[in-house]
């Protein structure tokens, strides 16, 4: 019986990490109103950056955050500025430009295959990092230590982003733009700068997620695909644009994934996740919690 609780806890921990991976997606959607299909690839890039940072420096994985966050932020900032902004400008009147989705899919393909080209398809992992395989024993249950770290990182990042949006000037500008971009630009807010920053934040969040995954997850060029689809599922469940929704949605998936295999095969568990996704899309596209915007 304890196994269920153990699975539940580990599921919640892993779920928060899933939520972290989806956090960037939800922020980008909330502000730009587009679903960034390249999100999984950005996560993958974050993982690679973290991997190399740790392998080359030998430092604790979470110290890699010092490098990862700025690198990923600027990567996202300029990706939006150079590749995606032209589409927005061309499709100014369309509220949800579909062409951007197509373009981000192109970015996904390019990033994944470029990484494949440069680094090869092999699976990499950091063998001797201080977190790998560590377990914390609490009352007969084994809690995964890297996942615990990941959980904390997820909650902290979510709070940090929330604080940023609520308390800083740029955060207010971002919120204003997400609610009504025309009114916001009439107030003197530079719409595209806001987009760039939002994209940067979203990508940095993906980078943080990458750092949390690297201690226990394999790193390879197509790792993003799995998280991409899961990311979509999570943000739809949690409500596109909602930060708490992303974390909660991730936890739901995490719990299903870890408790499910007790009762059915792992792949049927995957099937349940898809079924839940479709159900939510049909019945309540604004998400399980119905909250459209957190801010």
């Amino acid at each position: 019986m304890w196994f269920i609780v153990e699975d539940l806890i580990n599921g919640i921990l892993m779920g928060a990490i899933y939520g972290l991976t989806a956090l960037g997606l939800t922020v980008i959607f909330g502000v730009l109103k587009v679903i960034n299909f390249a999100h999984g690839s950005l996560l993958m890039v974050g993982m690679f950056v973290a991997y190399w940072a740790v392998t080359l420096s030998g430092l604790h994985p979470y110290l890699a955050l010092i490098l990862v966050i700025p690198i990923m932020f600027f990567f996202g900032y300029y990706l939006q500025d150079i590749v995606i902004k032209p589409i927005f400008k061309a499709e100014k009147d369309v509220r949800e430009p579909i062409t951007v989705i197509i373009v981000t899919t192109g970015v996904w393909y390019i990033l994944d295959n470029l990484t494949l080209l440069i680094f090869g398809p092999q699976y990499r992992n950091i063998q001797d990092n201080p977190l790998r395989g560590k377990m914390l024993e609490i009352g007969g249950m084994f809690i995964s230590v890297p996942k615990l770290w990941g959980f904390s990182a997820a909650i902290l990042t979510a709070l940090a982003i929330y604080w940023f949006l609520q308390r800083t000037r740029m955060g207010r500008a971002i919120r204003a733009t997400s609610l009504d971009r025309d009114a916001a630009s009439l107030m003197g807010i530079k719409q595209y700068k806001v987009y760039n920053i939002a994209f940067g934040i979203g990508t940095a969040a993906a980078g943080i997620a990458g750092v949390t995954l690297v201690p226990f997850y394999n790193v390879f060029p197509s790792v993003g695909v799995l998280f991409d689809i899961k990311g979509f599922i999570i943000v739809v469940l949690g409500g596109l644009g909602s930060i708490s929704g992303a974390i909660l949605g991730g936890m739901i998936i995490g719990v299903i994934e870890s408790v499910g295999p007790q009762f059915m095969t792992a792949t049927w568990t995957e099937g349940i996740v898809y079924a839940l996704f479709l159900l939510v899309l049909f019945v309540k596209p604004s998400g399980l919690f119905g909250v459209r915007y957190d801010w």
Partner: protein, 335 residues
């Protein structure tokens, strides 16, 4: 020569060349490349009925491809039913599934629709990968199904040489292009275009937008399933990752988008331009630079979306018309 006659002559020449090609081109490798080229042109044209005419972005069409392939293969292996009949049955299955998927999803906005189709496609793949038996039918899960090359011949859509496959897919392609052309000139075509571009206005003009989209979906899924059957008979081996793959769904959509969705020539043009890129980069650079063709696809896609969102067919068609003007005389203005 008048413009009309010139176009008729070019069409005739094109037909003669394409039918005559296998007599000149003997290499099975090249024939295979052409067969796949026509297959993709066929797939993108079928996709275009929904993705172009109806104006939505379906990213799960491989599911229909797979339904066709699995239906005919299972029926053939277990009950000895000819793949031709398998085509019809697979097509009907795919149509039904397509309409079922379409009913709830067409109401969604663009991005959600795209996500839902991805979910359906992947969900179906996961399902097939994990079921060995669906009722009395043996799907064999991830191991796939293999068709032993016995009883070759037209009745079983199985041949030793590539030539018969070439002609079959060529005829299928011509048929689907003619179908697309007929639809585009018909009431359904007008209604689909209207509903795709401005649904509110179309509804006020008497267009039942939802019903038209469903009709387009039913047709598109039927046709895509036929291609799945063809593919199964061509390669004699199918498994979920090859026939119900996300990559296939995306490739079809990408090619149609680059070529120009919504037009008739666009998808074919896209296939004509991009498939050779894909094939040659795989043949010549496959070892040193794997995945190069996908990088090229992605880059071309982005560039096209920024500079020519209606696809490459737009500038190419304009150039073609200018060429026509120079070569021919215009017919007298109809009054």
């Amino acid at each position: 020569m008048t413009r009309e006659n010139f176009q008729k002559l070019s069409a005739a020449l094109l037909l003669i060349v394409s039918f005559g090609l296998p007599l000149v081109l003997r290499s099975p490798t090249y024939l295979h490349i052409l067969i796949l080229l026509y297959l993709y042109a066929y797939l993108t044209t079928s996709w275009n009925l929904v993705g172009g005419f109806a104006g939505v972005l379906p990213l799960g069409h491989a599911a229909f491809f797979g339904i066709g392939a699995y239906t005919s293969t299972v029926l053939f292996l277990q009950y000895g039913i000819s793949p031709w009949i398998g085509m019809v049955l697979g097509g009907i299955m795919a149509s039904i599934v397509g309409v079922i998927i379409g009913l709830p999803t067409f109401k969604m906005r663009g991005a959600y629709f795209a996500l839902a189709t991805i979910a359906f496609g992947e969900g179906m793949r996961v399902m097939v990968e994990n079921i060995d038996y669906l009722g009395p039918f043996n799907l064999n899960g991830p191991r796939g199904l293999q068709i032993p090359p016995l009883n070759v011949g037209l009745a079983n859509l199985m041949f030793v040489n590539k030539e018969p496959y070439y002609y079959i897919i060529l005829i299928m392609l011509i048929a689907v292009l003619m179908l697309t052309y007929t639809i585009s000139c018909s009431k359904l075509g007008y209604y689909l275009n209207a509903g795709g571009e401005e649904p509110e206005a179309a509804k006020a003009l008497g267009v039942n937008v939802a019903r038209c989209k469903l009709i387009a979906m039913a047709m598109s899924s039927f046709l895509t399933a036929l291609a799945g059957v063809f593919y199964a008979q061509l390669t004699l081996f199918i498994h979920p990752k090859s026939v119900i793959s996300l990559d296939l769904s995306f490739e079809i959509a990408f090619i149609a988008l680059i070529g120009g969705r919504g037009s008739i020539a666009g998808p074919v043009l896209g296939a004509l331009l991009l498939r050779p890129v894909s094939d040659f980069s795989r043949i010549y650079f496959g070892h040193i630079l794997p995945g190069l063709h996908l990088i090229i696809f992605g880059t071309v896609l982005i560039l096209v979306m920024i500079f020519q969102p209606r696809g490459l067919q737009e500038p190419l068609t304009k150039a073609y018309h200018r060429l026509l003007d120079r070569l021919t005389e215009k017919p007298a203005e109809k009054e």
